[in-house]
Assembly symmetry: C2
Homo-oligomer: 296 residues x 2
Amino acid sequence: MSSAPVKLKIYAEMLEKELERLMPKEECLQSEIFEACRYSLLEGGKRLRPFFCMTFFELCGGKAEDALSFAAGIEMIQSYSLIHDDLPCMDDSDYRRGKLSNHKVYGYSTAVLAGDALLNRAFEVFTSPMEGIKPLDQLAAANVMGTASGVYGMVGGQVIDLALENRQCTAEELEKMVSLKTGALIAGSCKSGCCLAGASLEKAEAAYNFGMAVGLAFQIRDDMLDLVGSSEQVGKPMGSDAENNKNTYASVYGLEKCEQLVKELTDKALESASVFGEEGKAVLSEIALWLINRTY
Amino acid sequence: MSSAPVKLKIYAEMLEKELERLMPKEECLQSEIFEACRYSLLEGGKRLRPFFCMTFFELCGGKAEDALSFAAGIEMIQSYSLIHDDLPCMDDSDYRRGKLSNHKVYGYSTAVLAGDALLNRAFEVFTSPMEGIKPLDQLAAANVMGTASGVYGMVGGQVIDLALENRQCTAEELEKMVSLKTGALIAGSCKSGCCLAGASLEKAEAAYNFGMAVGLAFQIRDDMLDLVGSSEQVGKPMGSDAENNKNTYASVYGLEKCEQLVKELTDKALESASVFGEEGKAVLSEIALWLINRTY
């Protein structure tokens, strides 16, 4: 397994500091909500979506630092969605990345509010004054994220996921669900970076398509690893989709067909990446291939 | 009891159509989320916050129609907050305005997601292209709403409210709670109308102060009516704060002191309104006095 691209680590470190700045500890009557938000937000992780936003911003001529706060807002959306996904009324997960889930630590009501708080804060950040960004570009980028995370995006995907639980779904339904639940936010993160830089519609669309292909391939790989993992280690990983009778690419298509789909999506992603020139294609291929071919 | 200002009704009708347009019925795999959002969003009501946004926009030289979609976004935030407030893990309310609450009709998970969807959609709307609005003004207005509804606003107030449950609170804690939980969104709605129109900081701040004073006075009147109602009609209204052992102005101060506070806040509101000239003061006094002195 190759190690993570160096740039991913550098940006993740920049982002950690920015998140700390944007969601600080606060001494006030509602200090608990800041704690609860920080518990889920500042737990490290790949910070993939912010990375894509900053990278596309750079590839469209921007200076990565200028997109840092926007990228931090994107991570807040990701964090809010995980907190709400884990709630007892949703996936009822006690753990998230080896830590107790938010509601197990802070209680049900605070976890709902922590999710709400992070989502609100994300858009507060998206609309805050930003150096080096034109207001019209900033509006367009924020709008892309609103679409990516709402009824036509991630929330819509979550609704479909819940609706499909405990019944066999069609390939079409599965693709729609994963496109919205996982693909939309990654694709939106890529596109928003282009919008922030005032790039052409062609580039913005290519970035979206790149992100969607990578997002789908990423999820299929996840499903495959999950299936192998849960058959290899009985009882682990806890709460995996494979064990929850959820529809996944691996359960609907089988491993062999999944491998083929991943290959097709990788080709699609790299084709979209070519709009960003030789340098762009090199950067984007590295991250895409690393993500898609990971073995853990 | 005087009837509602005519303008409030006219704007409410305009808004109803706009909300219908912005949250339509959709035939898709996730159609249920649109239904659930529409159930809570399109139930009529005073539409007070959008009214304030549009009215201040007009008073600062704008044409009310140009602020209509932004105002609709504000109502989505209000609607999201009510859905999440009613959840079993929060206030556990089975009814809202005489109708079953969202989670009683659509279930717990869909209600959480409907709230999330409305909040996302609000910011998607805030950042959509708007005729007659300068991008920088639109960003500023959207940012005001993000602050008003998040950790430093409504969500923060809800956290304090839950923390103060079942214990006596101080006057200071109560004011902080109500300022954030109820005042911030009304004040933000007023201020955002000014920002949208590119008004001066002086006007934007006066609008905020007006909204905060009206919001507090409105809540105190609510608490007073609630207390009288629950002692007059045993067992009704169901789920009122007065019966849930919640801290309210009426329970902390008593009715007489409440009446005095309402008077002081009314004076404060009218003083802030004077920044908007004779016409502005007339319009704002009418709505403020109607809201604050209502007897139902």
